[in-house]
Symmetry: C2
Subunit: 305 residues, 2 copies
């Protein structure tokens, strides 16, 4: 049972005992691994997402996917999704597309389910916001292939090219967007997708991202891959049915999954990113010294009731 | 059936017809999408991996995974894997670990199967090679978070910090490595893993990479995730059994999967990378202008018999 990862073994510091002076004082504390940082996080380093802005999607077979929505970046799309959820509109639809190393996509794959009275199929594209003004921002110093600056704004992976200019959500693993046709405003949340592979950052600024899978992505990422073009399933029977989607606020409190996300405006988050950047676990012989935006997504934990 | 990707629609060029002169000559050819570039590739832009250095792993249930080995980067590990395959050593073992957004790992999970007579459990770590000397290299101009230079050496994603200095394989989606314990030489190929998530580049230079899944990664990436620490399965019954592993050269020619990889030292590959970098498909409103090493892995195709 080899690790390829993170074994935790106490470092032998016997060599330090041979030092002539102040061996005790000189013994450095064992450097923190990412897991150590999280274990030592104070309670207020974690936030509990707003139940009115977090949804639970239940798949047939027991999969439970918790998704936090991002009104700070996609207000209109979040409003659209929330209205559809409250109308029970996604219930009985299915995951209709699974493209390996790319996306899982669900909703009205055939485009045949009418929207609730008074709702429009088009929502004005929200590919970016004018700036990060008003949001706390933790900048990564590591560089980014796709943008001048990358970092985390109130829990979300973001990028921008010009200080004070437009900023956008990044297509990291687990991010959720609104599938669209060629018309940029056609992503009316009738179909949503989650990234299940290497970050397809070329989609940034081309599709509206509106949230992130906090827990349960494995219920999507482990589905059979569709065999048709773009990973669509060949027959409707191959799709994974959605039992129901509800905002957490709609559920009795005792039934709400208790999920918490590490605040990105905390010393704990900065220490955790640094521990990801400079791996000090004994397994690592060489520390990268850098970390990619999508390799340091804000940690999530489930709190036992 | 929305796309989030690559729809192909003919561009209306009616406006050009109104130009007063040489409308025909002035009509620009429609810019090439990545798929267009591949469709136009000459036959000799593709290479067929050496059957003596390519293996077929068959999982119970029909999964067929084709892996090309990389002796130019991990000669000793490739020799070890090849000997184990010829001995039928992997047959009847299983995929014992599935960690979401990270790795699928297979082989002797319990560490109880003796190696064939005369073989050692340790193989000297091959985390890098002294330089790229002797290999064709196609450099990416896009930058890389984890190294000074990234690009493709004879089909493999590689990185280095110093020109003429050590170069290493990068942990991109589908890359295959030798799981190890804390001892860097303990990766004796008794357990192998494939990357099935966002590139864990912090593993570069810490584990020996020895190959790449060319086809069939979905047979690994769609397996249920293990629920124990690091994604190990809780019980042996949950593991996905390996029926057999054979080098393609061991199979009758008619039974060998015919897989081809785009040569990375060709104008076609450079054009394809550029088409990935500057998406001209009608779906894209904005081209990233950059591409990440792991987002431009050399294309693979299966040739019908």
């Amino acid at each position: 049972m080899r690790a390829v990862s993170f074994p935790r073994v106490v470092v032998a510091v016997a060599c330090l005992a041979a030092l002539p002076v102040a061996a005790t004082a000189a013994t450095p504390p064992r450097p923190a691994s990412p897991a150590d940082v999280l274990a030592a996080a104070p309670a207020d380093a974690w936030r509990r997402p707003d139940p009115a802005l977090t949804l639970l999607m239940e798949l047939r077979g027991g999969g439970r996917v918790v998704i936090e929505l991002a009104p700070a970046f996609a207000q209109k799309h979040v409003a659209q999704v929330t209205r559809l959820v409250h109308a029970g509109w996604y219930d009985g639809l299915a995951v209709g597309r699974l493209q390996d190393n790319y996306v899982a996509q669900w909703g009205d794959t055939d485009g045949t389910r009418p929207l609730p009275e008074g709702m429009s199929k088009t929502v004005v594209a929200e590919f970016s916001r004018p700036s990060l003004r008003g949001l706390s921002f933790t900048k990564l110093v590591d560089g980014d292939v796709y943008a001048r600056v990358a970092g985390y704004a109130e829990g979300w992976p973001v990028a921008y090219d010009k200080p004070g200019g437009p900023a956008w959500l990044a297509h990291c693993y687990g991010m959720v967007g609104a599938g669209r046709d060629l018309d940029p405003d056609s992503g009316g949340a009738g179909e949503l997708y989650a990234v299940i592979g290497h970050a397809p950052r070329h989609l940034d600024l081309n599709v509206t991202l509106l949230g992130r899978v906090l827990t349960g992505i494995e219920a999507l990422s482990s589905l059979p891959r569709g065999t048709e073009a773009l990973g669509f399933y060949r027959t409707p029977e191959q799709r994974a049915p959605i039992e129901r989607v509800r905002m957490l606020a709609q559920l009795p409190e005792a039934e709400r999954p208790l999920v918490e996300v590490l605040r990105t405006d905390t010393p704990t988050f900065r220490a955790w990113v640094d521990a990801r950047r400079n791996r000090r676990d004994d397994f690592f012989l060489r520390s990268a010294g850098r970390v990619d935006l999508c390799n340091a997504m804000p940690p999530v934990r489930t709190v036992p009731r």
